[in-house]
Structures are given as C-alpha cells and as structure tokens.
C-alpha cells in the first residue's frame, strides 16, 4: 500500500518513539466498507521534544494517539517506544508500558471519575501499581497537585464537577504525571478552554515538561496553539501526513497547500490586518472512500491530473522540512519518479 513516505524519520539514538506505516481502519457496519482513519503514517519523536500533530476534525489525530497507546490495536504498522515494539506486546506488557506513556484528553470533566474525590483520582494509578507507602503516595500527589495549581486540601474534599474546565484539565495533567511517564500524548487539551485558561495550561505544560523531563505529542486543530508549544509539527489530512517541519519554519514557509489553508484560517487579533477571503471551501471528504492520488486534491487550488492519480511522497525540501505534494508552494516540483530515502 502506498504510504506517505518515511523520508522525515530520523536515525538518532535519541528517538523515544518511532511509528512506521501506522494504519487504523474501522469497519462501516456490515457493508464491507471501512473508514480509513489512519492510512500508513510514519513519525518519530526525540527524547525531550514536543511534536505537534495538527489537522481538521476527523483527519485521524486522536486515532493516531490511541493507536500509539495501543488503546486501539492498529491494523498495520509498527510502534516502537523506548526500543520496544508495542504492537506485538501482550496485554500485561502493554499495561506496564502504559505507565511510561500517558494520554490526556480534550474533555477533562468527563475523563475524570465523577464520583470520586479529586485527590483519590490523582492517587489511583499509584495505588493500582502499588508504588510507595501510603505516606509517600500522599506526599507525591499533594506535590503534583500544588505544582499544577490545585489546592490539595480542596482536592481531598471535592469531586471533579466542583472544579472549572481549566482546573479539571490541571487535575488530569497531575494524574498523568503521577507514575513518572516519559511520554505524554495530549489530545486537544486546550481546545475546549477559554483563551485565558488555554494560555495558563500551555505555560504549565512547558514548565512541567522542563521539570519532569517529558516528551510530548501535542494534538490540536489550531496551528497557532500547536506552534507555541511544539518543536516540530506534522500536518495531517484525511489519514495522511502532508508536511513535517520545525515549528518556526512551518510558519515562515508553509509548503503544502493545506498547511497554508490552516495558517490563513487562524483569526488574527488585529482589525488592521486585512482578512483573508475564506481560506478554503467545504470540509474534508469522507475517509470511507478517500480521493485517489493526493487526498487533498478535491479542495486544492493547485490540483492537476497528476494529483488525482499519483500519491505524493514526503520528501525533504529544506533542513528538517518535508512535504508530500507534487506542486508545493516552496521547494520545487516533486520528481516524476519518487523514491523514499529513509531507513538508511
């Protein structure tokens, strides 16, 4: 099956997570059809790096996160975390691995057990894994709660619904840290928050990352948010990766037509800046029968016959900057015969 290429994968001892040809499909009833949620994507994350994953709803970001965690076993591909292949692990091995990789979600209120006290919710993973004495657990949980800005005494007395959305997200973050993970997959953690709370949570994640030596995958649909927190960004569209670049480079020189659309859609908080005429019409097509060739072709202003038949492969067009497009905005036309150069 044609992937989108692996030219962007790095050969470094610092690779913490390496995903290759990840494929996730969901059957559509008994029709024999399937949702092509994630179609052979590859990505890697270095230790201490933050990888941003950005794209419109339905492009497969959450599915990618869940498949990395093996919360949904992928139909194909490999996921290597800390040198171990996760897709071949038994359930017990995977449970153990999941203590070092955690996931936080967009809707913090519904991802916290509504009937338990917040302090117990944060402590629960320690209890399950029988880590430390009761006193050690309590000390650790209270320290983490204070670190994320939640009063431990209040947390001991209150249930999640007694906290605001932003506070619940802080609580989820504290819980995700309690087993000392190396990787945290943040699935739209700020998309449901006010801009003021979003800023607080973004700063908090940066601080925690530095303090706890974390590696992050940060998923969102707003490139301005993703750019703020990420070192490197992968842009997804309909189950494929279209562009990978360092955050600043992606903004300075977007190469993929879809990346440009995402950038132009962000509202500029300045009335003197002329509004872009609507950056794009319509919404992504169904991933059940994705368009042949480049999946973006039905919405792309530069699409031609080649785009409708030949799938573009990721290729390097600048330092660390990769694009899967036949006619990118920068970096020149793709060569007629494409060969990927990864796995050297």
């Amino acid at each position: 099956m044609a992937g989108t290429g692996k030219a962007h994968l790095r050969n470094s001892p610092d690779v913490l997570l390496r995903v290759e040809d990840l494929t996730v499909e969901f059957p559509v009833g008994r029709t024999g059809l399937k949702v092509n949620a994630v179609s052979g994507i590859s990505l890697d994350v270095l230790r201490g790096e933050t990888l941003g994953l950005v794209g419109e709803s339905g492009c497969g970001k959450s599915t990618t996160g869940r498949a990395i965690m093996q919360l949904r076993r992928p139909e194909g591909g490999s996921v290597v975390f800390e040198g171990n292949e996760l897709t071949k692990m038994t359930l017990a091995e995977m449970r153990e691995a999941r203590t070092r990789m955690q996931m936080i979600f967009q809707d913090p209120i519904s991802s916290l057990n509504p009937r338990r006290k917040v302090r117990d919710i944060v402590m629960e993973p320690l209890t399950i894994w029988k880590r430390g004495s009761n006193a050690e657990r309590a000390t650790k949980v209270d320290a983490l709660l204070s670190e994320v800005g939640i009063d431990p005494d209040r947390a001991a007395e209150s249930q999640p619904h007694q906290f605001s959305g932003g506070q619940c997200q802080r609580i989820s973050i504290a819980r995700s840290l309690v087993l000392d993970p190396t990787l945290i997959i943040c699935d739209e953690p700020v998309s449901a928050l006010d801009v003021s709370v979003q800023a607080q949570v973004l700063n908090l994640l940066e601080d925690l990352k530095a303090k706890h030596g974390l590696t992050l995958i940060f998923i969102a649909h707003d490139l301005a948010v993703v750019k703020n927190i990420s070192d490197r960004i992968a842009v997804m569209y309909l189950g494929k990766i279209c562009e990978v670049a360092p955050s600043d480079g992606l903004y300075q020189q977007p190469a993929h037509h879809y990346t440009k659309v995402l950038l132009d859609s962000i509202p500029v908080p300045d009335p003197e800046v002329a509004l872009h005429k609507v950056a794009i019409e319509g919404e992504p097509p169904s991933p059940v029968l994705p368009p042949p060739g480049c999946r973006f072709n039905p919405r792309c202003p530069a699409a031609d016959d080649r785009c409708r038949s030949e799938e573009p492969q990721l290729r390097e067009i600048g330092a660390g900057h990769f694009v899967a497009c036949h006619h990118p905005l920068v970096g020149g036309e793709s060569p007629v015969s494409v060969r990927t150069t990864a796995d050297a």
Binding site: A199, N203, V273
Partner: protein, 359 residues
C-alpha cells in the same frame, strides 16, 4: 397564528423607527440560589445601532450568555430577578414575559448557540425544521415554506440543498449543523442576530467560513449582529464595536479598531496577550492573566478585576471604577482607575519589570 397584532412590534414599524436598535440601561439579571444571589449581569448599559455588529468578549462566567438571553427574554422564570431597561427599537422589552417575547423571536431577534444539537430536533428532517417557523410566524403555505427552506440553505452555502433538506441533524458535521442553525435564524428575516460562541466548537477552517457567512448575511440583510466569544481574535475582523465584560459588568467598550489601537482596561490587555500569536517564536511564554474570574455571589469590593490585575493598588480594592468615556473618543469608555498608558500604569509596569529582572 396571526402576525403583527397591535400589541406586537411589527416588522414594518421596526424598520422605520429612527434611533438605536438596542438601548440597555443598567440591566441587572440576578439568580437566587442556595449559595446566595448570583449577580450574573450587574448593571450593564450600552446602545447598538441598526445594522452594526457588536462583539461581546470575556472569559467564561463573565455574564455574556446571560446578557444576550436577558435581551432575548430567554431566561429561567424561577429564581430570576431582573431590573433595568432594555429597549428594542424604542419599545421596552425588559419586562416582557416569555409568552410576549415569542412574537419577537424569529422575526425580530434570533439566536444561535455553540452547540447546534441543543436547538435542533434530532428526530425531524432539516427541511421541516426550517419550514416550521416560516409557516408558524409568516403564515406561509407548505409549498412556499419548502421553497424558502431550500433557498435559505443555498444562502448559507450548503452544497446539494435538496439532499440536505431530507437529512437528520446527526447526518451532518458540526459546521454544517451550524449553517443550518443560521438558515433557521435567518428564516423570518430578523433585525438582530445573537450568536453565542457560534464557532467555539468548530475547527479553525470551518470557524473562518462561519464567521464570513455571518458577516455576509448581516450586510445583505442590514441586520445587527451580536457576536459573543471568549476570543478577541474572533471579533477583531468581524465586528464594528466590542464590549468587554468581566464579572457581570461592562468594563470597556469601543469601536473595534480603536479598541485594538488604544485599549484602556488591563483586563482587555490581558485577554489579548493570552492569544498565541503565529508570528511569535515557538516556545514564547504566553502572558497569562493569573487566577480565575470572581465568584458572582461574593464579587470583590472595588474593581472586580483587582485580585488578578497586575497594576492594582489600594484604591482599586476599595472604590469601584465607573465606566467613563475617554477624552478623545466619546464612543470609547472603560472602567479603570489606572488605565493602560496612564502614569500609574507605567510606574506599575516598571515595578513589575524590575522585580522580574527585566530592564
């Protein structure tokens, strides 16, 4: 149902009347709760001219939704205390019952919400949901209503309108459903549309499309638009004026360009600084407003923003700053003792920078 009975405001009359479309004077909406009185809207006054667009901006819990609902007359009947005056096209509507307001909904004022699913009937086809108010409020025949429904879907740029008319809400994406809500809101040709966080749940790409659509409908129909949001970025390019709310009060109001060029309230400044800017380097630290909005049962004495304001001094904790117009622009007002740009503001900033080790 009869339309335009003498006790109602008729559309023709509304369109002729001179003066502002909306005039609010000291509007208060309080809720009696077991915890005490929630001062959700606490003395808001402003006017909105016909055909203009107003952004109402503030964090969650600042009273934006309750203010819009107070104007629409869409408030819970139990435990609600209202005072002040709300004039719509010269007629007092602040004291009208829900039943009386029903004549005004749709034809004069319409509202769309963040989650279209809460206002759409999941068991009814889209076409019927649009046609219903047309038959009810405008007395259209079945055939006319169906034709108008189709045209409305085209107006809101829904492709393949015939196929969509026969669909149910769950068969559509969030963006499509919001377009349908706009079509329903437009059905009876309202004079004012209240859009409460209409794009907050949507992707940025779809948000841009919906905001453009709202702007276009407003211009074509010469309708007033009240756009409620927590994001100053959303209103910057899509409104004529902005009202900033904090803790149930209006704390700054100005024409949009003026607000961004010369904002006075430290709160407005904080909201703007919270937005990640694309042109900033990645990992730029965001300037946050510390803490959280006040408890509206026991709001702080003095300036309600004082506990979070970096420039607050003793007076702010004691005396409440009144909403006052700036000297050079009567349309720009703010409620702050030491506004952005004042000598005290600069002194406070110098102090903050010195303690942070910045010169």
């Amino acid at each position: 149902m009869s339309i335009g009975s003498t006790t109602n405001i008729t559309q023709a009359a509304l369109r002729d009347v001179q003066g502002p479309l909306l005039e609010l004077t000291d509007v208060r909406t309080h809720f009696r709760t077991p915890r005490g009185l929630v001062r959700a809207v606490d003395g808001v006054s402003f006017t909105l001219e016909r055909g203009r667009s107003l952004g109402i901006v503030g964090e969650s819990g600042s009273g934006k939704t309750i203010l819009s609902r107070s104007i629409m007359g869409l408030l819970p009947s139990k435990g609600t205390e209202r005072s002040g005056s709300i004039k719509f096209a010269g007629t007092e509507v602040g004291n009208k019952s829900r039943k009386e307001m029903r004549h005004i909904w749709g034809k004069e004022m319409a509202m769309i919400f963040q989650d279209p699913m809460t206002s759409l009937n999941p068991l009814m086809r889209i076409g019927d949901q649009i046609a219903e108010p047309l038959r009810l409020h405008l007395g259209m025949s079945k055939a006319d209503a169906a034709a108008t429904a189709r045209r409305l879907l085209q107006d809101v740029r829904i492709p393949e309108p015939d196929r969509r008319l026969a669909q149910y809400p769950h068969e559509m994406s969030g963006g499509m459903r919001q377009r349908v809500m706009i079509a329903i809101a437009m059905a009876c040709g309202p004079t004012a549309l209240f859009a409460d966080e209409p794009t907050t749940a949507l992707d940025v790409t779809v948000q841009a499309q919906i905001l453009d659509l709202l702007g276009e409908q407003r211009r074509e129909r010469n309708m007033s638009l009240v756009l409620v949001t927590h994001d100053l970025g959303v209103v910057a390019g899509h409104t004529d004026e902005i009202a900033v709310m904090y803790g149930g009060k209006l704390v700054e109001k100005a024409p949009t360009k003026r607000l961004f060029a010369a904002m006075k309230m430290p709160y407005t400044e904080g909201l703007l600084a919270s937005i990640p800017k694309l042109e900033d380097q990645s990992h730029s630290r965001l300037n946050v407003i510390p803490g959280r909005p006040p408890d509206l049962v026991n709001p702080p004495k003095g300036c309600r923003f004082a506990p979070r304001c970096p420039y607050a001094s003793a007076r702010c904790n004691e005396e409440e700053p009144p909403l006052t117009a700036t000297q050079d622009d009567p349309n720009h007002s703010y409620a702050c003792w030491y506004p952005v740009g004042s000598p005290e503001y600069h002194e406070a900033r110098a102090r903050i920078n010195a303690s942070a080790g910045v010169n």
